[in-house]
Amino acid sequence: MDGHVNASSSSRSGAGADGSGLSGAAERLERPPKRTQQRGNYGSNNQDQTDAAVLAVPSVAVRGSSASRPSRLSGGGGGGGGAGPPPNETEEDQGLKYGAQHVIKLFVPVSLCMLLVVATINSISFYSSTDVYLLYTPFHELSPEPSVKFWNALANSLILMSVVVVMTILLIVLYKKRCYRIIHGWLILSSFMLLFIFTYLYLEELLRAYNVPMDYPTALLFMWNFGVAGMMSIHWQGPLRLQQGYLIFVAALMALVFIKYLPEWTAWAVLAAISIWDLIAVLTPRGPLRILVETAQERNEQIFPALIYSSTVIYTLMGTHYTPQQSAEPAVTSSPSSSNSTTTTRATQNSLASPEAAVASSSSRSGNTRTHPHQNQRDDSNVMAAEAEAAGFTQEWSDNLNDRVARRQIEVQSTQSGNAQRSNEYRTVTAPDQAPADAQEERGIKLGLGDFIFYSVLVGKASSYGDWTTTIACFVAILIGLCLTLLLLAVWRKALPALPISITFGLIFCFATSAVVKPFMENLSAKQVFI
């Protein structure tokens, strides 16, 4: 077993050196068994198994069929193309299908978050007026001149973005130096701030907005329970719904903070800038987020600073659907990438979903020789894990489930933070998880909380002008953008930035609606004309 893994890893690095062709071929080789497995699952009409099988696919289908993808994309995305899906792409259809479900699973929390922000903006005037400013926005746009405001906004967003970049780099350095305690302390502190101080502020303003008197013992009791429950469910363990609820609330709170403290034009500029930064950070070969992903992959660890919302749903079914996967395992272990992904996930609960293969290929593409020793190391651990599994680990595995979930939560979600400079780490959509064996647990689609935050900032800012048509237009545009992103995700199968498309759509529709559509609609509705 040991020798086998070593060989496979060396063949892999060789492929990286030679170019993508070899590794692509190697990956294709492993497809047939997986396909059959997956077919079997699908045929059994069990949805969870289907999911698991589909999740296994991405790890092998990274670049192999990229040529045919665009047409697939346009067809599925409603872009107007006419071609039907190529016959060899059925597995991606499954990806999409299951995407549809997951799109909704993201739509709901995103909508809830935006709803919360919009409702707050419209009912609590505290959040819609900016009188205090963040340290990072030294220009306050007080001049009536549009040109001055424009430059202020530009300068503010540049400062803010450079802070974001600097903090990201700082984080990478900390992470590379393995200063986990510092990072954890930082993250716990910031989540503590959000859950206690900012929540208290919110409560205070809420009570004030509705003129409800509340005595301090009640308020403190409530705050204590709310905050502690939040810290527990976010950092340790708790019911999934509760955790999701807390994450949505925290994101909404953060969005409100941005809306409250950023000057008006700066907020728009920051939205635009952050989505571009998102694009760079996730997609460029040396983008900070990508480096983080790679480092984490090398270390067999959680990708560290991602506070992500996970739509993972079914815990209870894990044990029962595990067996078929297990039986498939021996066949799969012969292929390096799948065994990697299996065990990596097994060992580290890697939930950030940048597919193994995608990372591996990208790192090999960029000629990153560092991967080699790590690869070995990882494979070693893989082997151990695989051995454990082969020894009938199933029962214990499901027994340990809760612990591992908790660990994942600690590692993943502890990154929430209350300050602006860290917001960049919040986003990154992740593909339906690649880990076949752990699929039941990990298959949920994941969306960085940063995306929640900035979507909500956009919609909240739009609604602060008091025009509901603009708000609705932004909302629809963002959802469609998210939909497209997820579609691309299903097609490309690698971590994608979720902001650019949605924010672009949102900005366009926000300004277009408030400038052009709004007067038109107001004219119509004042005269009760319906179109």
Partner: protein, 700 residues
């Protein structure tokens, strides 16, 4: 990113440009019509809250015009469609009527509108009979509210110190009033029995006050450590006293070392008056008679003394000086003077940044307080006891007042008893009854004391607009075409008398010159403070080319920290200008460091002057003392509640019948549609039978 921002900017620009001619009309613009006016707001002291507040969402009431008192009966005897909003003219805005409205309860009366129809008004003062009663000398003789003869404001209703359960909104503009009346006549003023069945014209007033109960409570809430958002519930009333000396004081020899500031050996005659006024409504209220006359006399006296007195070195006692102080916040339990006394007692006046030697009570020779001079022909000199000092000054004053040489023809009487008017001197006397305080005050004759109607008409002020140099002193015979009984001449006379008496006190010699105060200065002064801050006097007292004042009178309410503080600012400049010495040799460029200050001057060319004026804080010591006992009554505890906005708008309030019908139709539609859709979707295969079985599922 730039590109994106650029695009955003272009869109915004388009929006701005488009807005000019493509702005659609929101439905609410058709539904609502804003009404401009001034709101009554809430003030709190150590124990109570006074004033008014709307409900949190805004108080709504059906308009009802009150022409005669009988109209009120309709509202008070179970009206058909409550709550109502009576529109009351000032002559019916009486204590009795208001108390009846309060009694009717907020379910019947939700808003009260005061409309500016003063034709039948005889009096309008809502201050107490004894203003500042609880911070004055604790003596029944000082003021007796039950006895109009000895009270200081016999017309007062005390409504200013009532707590109203509804907002009171004052509408001054006749156009706005006619809007309201038109709406009332069109929708409400017929068929009163069917009010409940039809839509009625109603008004919504939003003036929610965030503070409640008392200053103690709201200050505690504001200061509380858990108040994370830093939101304020109330602010202490706070302003600035303005003081100036007739002779410049030497810069303290010790270099700005706070603790080592020496106590001066100078001797001061304190001439004081009050700076502020009060009224029930926000931003309205000039206090023409109740405090502005006193202030104008003080400035005139200051100017006259500045021009008449010889250099300080040639005085018999060259340590003598005159300190003019205008106290702010005096309407609210003597905030300014209490603070002044507090500071002087604690060796903190002037503050160290002024870099002048400290003044203590030992340095104060005596105090001449100019109170309210309602009837200038009937001035009395008040003092607690008939000290020789008082007798001497009275004699000096009368000497000039009755002197045929000047023809002022005034007789200043005296009253040496505990019947002391409610002026700043009370704070000094409260500390030490033996303090040599003399008060010039007239018999109360102001029927509009502390009200919105104490304006230019109340003091019969007609602007002369002479365009003459008000800084020159005219001869006594030169009346500048002002009538002898005009306000300008009265002020000229009194201030000349006071200035001459002080001249005699300082120099020890009788004043024999013929120069008297300039009525043009009084004319300009009143014009600035009563009609428009964009006026020659303010312009002359500003830096050349500085922005013009607003074409409206400056606000004279003490307000809070961060408030406009217009009145103290202008007073500071005017006193600085009138009490300064021209320094023709110093060029403009060197004239930047106080006490040198560059003024525009009368003709606007600019002149460098050596000034003496300064500010001192007028924040009640109650807010400085830790663990102050709010109920002790030692110091003023007035605070003003914060509010987010005053707004009022009229609209049609739909009848309950209409609302209930709409709602029930909606609910019926909702329920029916749920049922129908559920039935259709559950049996869709039957309904769309033509399709193949597998396809028969239009509705999931």
């Amino acid at each position: 990113m730039e590109k994106r921002v650029h695009a955003a900017a272009i869109w915004l620009l388009m929006l701005l440009h488009g807005a000019a001619f493509a702005q659609g009309e929101r439905t609410r613009d058709k539904m609502y019509q804003p009404i401009v006016g001034a709101g009554c707001f809430r003030r709190l002291n150590g124990t109570h809250q006074t004033g008014c507040s709307s409900t949190h969402a805004g108080s709504v009431g059906v308009l009802h015009l009150i022409n005669v008192e009988a109209d009120l009966e309709f509202l008070l005897a179970s009206p058909p469609s409550p709550p109502y909003a009576p529109m009351i003219p000032p002559h019916l805005f009486t204590r009795r009527n208001l108390l009846r409205l309060i009694e009717a309860g907020p379910s019947n009366i939700s808003v009260v509108l005061l409309i500016n129809k003063p034709e039948k008004m005889k009096q309008f003062s809502h201050e107490l009979n004894c203003p500042n009663q609880y911070s004055s000398l604790n003596n029944s003789e000082t003021c007796d509210a039950s006895n109009p003869a000895t009270s200081w404001n016999p017309w007062g209703t005390g409504l200013l110190h009532e707590d109203f359960p509804f907002p009171i909104y004052y509408i001054a503009d006749t156009e706005e009033i006619s809007k309201l009346e038109k709406c009332f006549l069109k929708f409400n003023n017929f068929n009163y029995e069917t009010h409940a069945l039809r839509s009625l014209c109603a008004i919504e007033v939003k003036s929610f006050m965030s503070a409640a109960v008392s200053s103690e409570v709201c200050i505690r809430r504001t200061r509380f450590i858990n108040n994370l958002s830093g939101s304020k519930y109330c602010d202490p009333l706070e302003g600035r006293n303005v003081y100036a000396t007739v002779y410049p004081r030497n810069v303290s020899s010790v270099e700005a070392e706070e603790t080592e500031l020496a106590i001066t050996s100078e001797k001061f005659i304190l001439v004081t008056c009050r700076l502020d006024t009060a009224s029930m409504f926000d931003g309205v209220g000039l206090g023409a008679m109740d405090s502005l006359v006193g202030l104008s006399i003080l400035t005139q006296v200051a100017h006259l003394l500045r021009e008449l007195l010889p250099p300080q070195s040639s005085l018999p006692d060259n340590r003598r000086n005159v300190l003019f102080v205008t106290f702010n916040g005096e309407s609210y339990d003597y905030i300014g003077s209490q603070r002044f006394v507090y500071d002087v007692e604690r060796f903190a006046f002037p503050k160290s940044s002024a870099r002048r030697n400290l003044i203590t009570f030992d340095n104060i020779e005596f105090m001449l307080d100019i109170g309210t001079l309602d009837d200038i022909a009937n001035i009395k000199l008040h003092a607690l006891s008939g000290t020789p000092l008082a007798q001497k000054l009275l004699q000096q004053l009368n000497n000039y007042a009755q002197s045929p040489r000047y023809g002022f023809n005034l007789n200043i009487q005296s009253e040496m008893s505990y019947h002391i008017p409610p002026t700043s001197a009370q704070s000094f006397l409260r500390r030490d009854p033996k303090f040599p305080a003399l008060i010039l005050n007239a018999k109360p004759a102001n029927k509009y004391y502390h009200s919105i109607y104490d304006d230019a008409d109340n003091v019969v002020f007609n602007y002369g607009n002479t365009s003459q140099d008000f800084t020159l002193l005219p001869d006594v015979g030169d009346t500048k075409n002002f009538k002898a009984d005009s306000l300008q001449m009265k002020v000229r006379n009194v201030s000349s008398i006071v200035a001459m008496a002080l001249y005699e006190t300082l120099t020890g010699k009788e004043y024999t010159g013929s120069k008297v105060a300039n009525p043009v200065l009084a004319d300009e002064f009143f014009y600035c403070f009563l009609l428009s801050a964009d006026c020659p006097l303010f312009k002359a007292a500003s830096y050349p080319g500085s922005p013009k004042g607003l074409p409206m009178p400056p606000m004279r309410y003490v307000s809070v920290l961060g408030g406009p503080q217009e009145s103290s600012g202008w007073t500071y400049r005017v006193l600085g200008y009138l009490l300064s010495q021209k320094q023709p040799k110093i060029p403009k460029d060197n004239c930047t460091i106080l006490p040198l200050h560059y003024f525009a001057g009368f003709n606007g060319v600019g002149e460098c002057r050596l000034t003496t004026q300064n500010y001192s804080s007028a924040l009640s010591p109650a807010f400085l003392i830790d663990d102050y006992d709010w109920r002790s009554g030692n110091y003023s505890t007035w605070t003003e509640s914060t509010w987010s906005l005053f707004s009022a708008r009229i609209f049609l309030r739909p009848s309950n019948v209409h609302q209930v019908t709409t709602l029930s139709v909606g609910i019926v539609v909702l329920i029916v549609s749920f049922c129908v859709v559920y039935i259709i979707s559950s049996r869709s295969e039957v309904l769309f039978e033509d399709l193949p079985a597998s396809n028969a599922a239009l509705f999931g």
